[in-house]
Amino acid sequence: MSNPTNDANSHDDHEHHGGVGIYIAVFVSLCVLTSLSFLTYFDFWRDRVPMEASRAFMMFVSCTKAMLVIMFFMHLKWEANWKWVLTVPASVMSAFLILMLIPDIGLRMRHASNERMIHAAEVPAQDEEHDSQKHTDHPDDSHGAEH
């Protein structure tokens, strides 16, 4: 284990890993996955899948892409167990941070500025004929804050 410069052992052991073939394959899958996110744009998909599910799907696609990059481009697939030590804690922590913010900030704000919501950009319902090009849907809210 004692190698004076300890720089030497880093790049002679995974010479045979990777390889252009694999990189091209990963590249193609990344492109395919990216276009998969756009599936959600088709009427066919939109009519059938609720938005939350679409979003989950897109996040799933992103995670898959991220895994591909990490595993192949960043060579983690071929690394020893240290990869877990150096990557998992930060990932868990970051997920935890975001999770803990949600109940307090993400969900809380629905009550915060009702007033603003009321005055947001919708045209009042009874005036539809006034301005036929606008509709009373909520172009800007995703949560259904109207509930």
Partner: protein, 590 residues
Amino acid sequence: MSTVTADVHSGDHADHAHAGGFLRTYVFSLDHKIIGLQFLFSSLIWFFVGGLLALGIRWQLAYPWAPMPILGNMLAGAEGGQIAPENYTMLVTMHATVMIFFVIIPVLAGAFGNFLIPLMIGAEDMAVPVLNMLSYWFMWPAFIVMGASFFVEGGAAQGGWTSYPPLSVILEAAPGSLNGQTLWLIALTMVGISSMMGSVNYMTTIIQMRAPGMTMFRLPMTIWGMFITAILQAFALPVLTAAGFMQLLDRVAGTGFFLADGATANNALMASGGGQPLLWQHLFWFYSHPAVYIMILPAMGMVSDILSTFARKPLFGYKPMVYSIGGIAGLGFIVWGHHMFVSGMNPMLGMTFMVATMMIALPSAIKTFNWLGTLWGGKIQYTTPMLFAISFVSMFIIGGLSGIFMAATPVDIFIHDTYYIVAHFHYVLFAGTAMAVFGAIYYWFPKMFGRMMNDAWGKVHFALTFVLLNCVFFPMHILGWTGFPRRLADPYHYETFRNLLPLNQFISWCAFIMVGVQVIFVINFFWSMFFGPKAGRNPWHSNGLEWQAPSPPGHGNFDFQPQIYRGPYEYGSPEVEEDYYPQTQPPPAE
């Protein structure tokens, strides 16, 4: 032994000389020891500044609105040395900022981390010396910016060290919100970058550059403290940096991350909205709670080393100690909400944070009992470092136990933002960490400068500081008991608190004297640097690897290849004659 020391020392000087002159050797040095000392000196100077600011606070609390003699004009800048209310909040803010970001964190991680890590693990230097040097030099823009903020229009930051928006974001909300706060944020970002480079460096060094035989479980507790601290820094600090950037943008670019809808100040409606003031608190405490452990774990480590050395006895429960440091770090990340119990945070979240907070007392308990266990059955030598170390244990118990009150959510409703909190964190920060730092200075001074500090005066310094600090901070508990709120320029404004004035005067006078007492330390420190008796390599008969190196260690630290045979706490081992058994001493041949 001392001849060897002297020899290596002078050899070392010759070496430095041809390595590139004064600047390269003492200013832009890549040597971790020099960088460590640079950190030490700058934090001591800032410690002094922070102490002066504290005097300002104490003066105002003892003699509200009375002109402060001597210091008044300097600190407050107001007419006749009277401390104006906005200057009081400025004093509080800057006192805390200086103490935390310029004193405690740099002195622990920067000074002792730098100086000790390579020495204690048997490395010749840090993994990336250049970044190490930069991590010190990134402190300077912070020093300058923070120092300059006192002199800009409106004065330095006044939002509390927690810098809660909207107060800290809305330019009109406070005079110090004008420029001071912006400079404060910039300085903090610099400190953040500095710490980040330092912490990644420490982790790499400790993981990769231990001497042969120095397994993870043979590391001294100091190194464990530093290591875990570095991890905490690395994971928590980026969040603060990000939040700091956002606050900065809110101030200078018109974003609205922390500005709620319809926020007003001075009757002016703020433009952007949709942000959340509470978001800052979450992000801030996500860093700053782990930060309080950043501010104590290295101290705990150093105390463990000192205790074991002077009890002449192995550290009690080494592994549980290591695991509990890990436990504190892990739990430390999931309790930040206990600073926000009454902030309007979702009460359900409060409940979870409360349980986690209670649990964090467990690893601390393990540590405390193990320290007591270390003393049990030893042969305690009451040297100055030892006294400081014991006082750390004694004081940490007080500070820790008062944490339990606040962790209890219903009680925290009452004591939040009262002097109970102030008592709590001064007990852990000043009576705990700062005392441990004093101890560590006395302890490692011989290694740093090759000379001993005066023990008798050290003891005088200790005894006076110890008694006085308790007189200063213990009564704050009963102040908090009455609901006495913190950050009030003139609390006697309220009927309820009027009868507390005499007690505050008592506290203040003790604080004044305590700061005065530090003169003993300063003189001892500088005198010993030049005239103290020469120390050999191992004046304390300690086991640690650093004590096998010359004092002070030359370039490259060791004049031999360190080979480690055992952990650092084998005092009184039956295997050898002496009561200590250095880590590098080969076991006797069978």
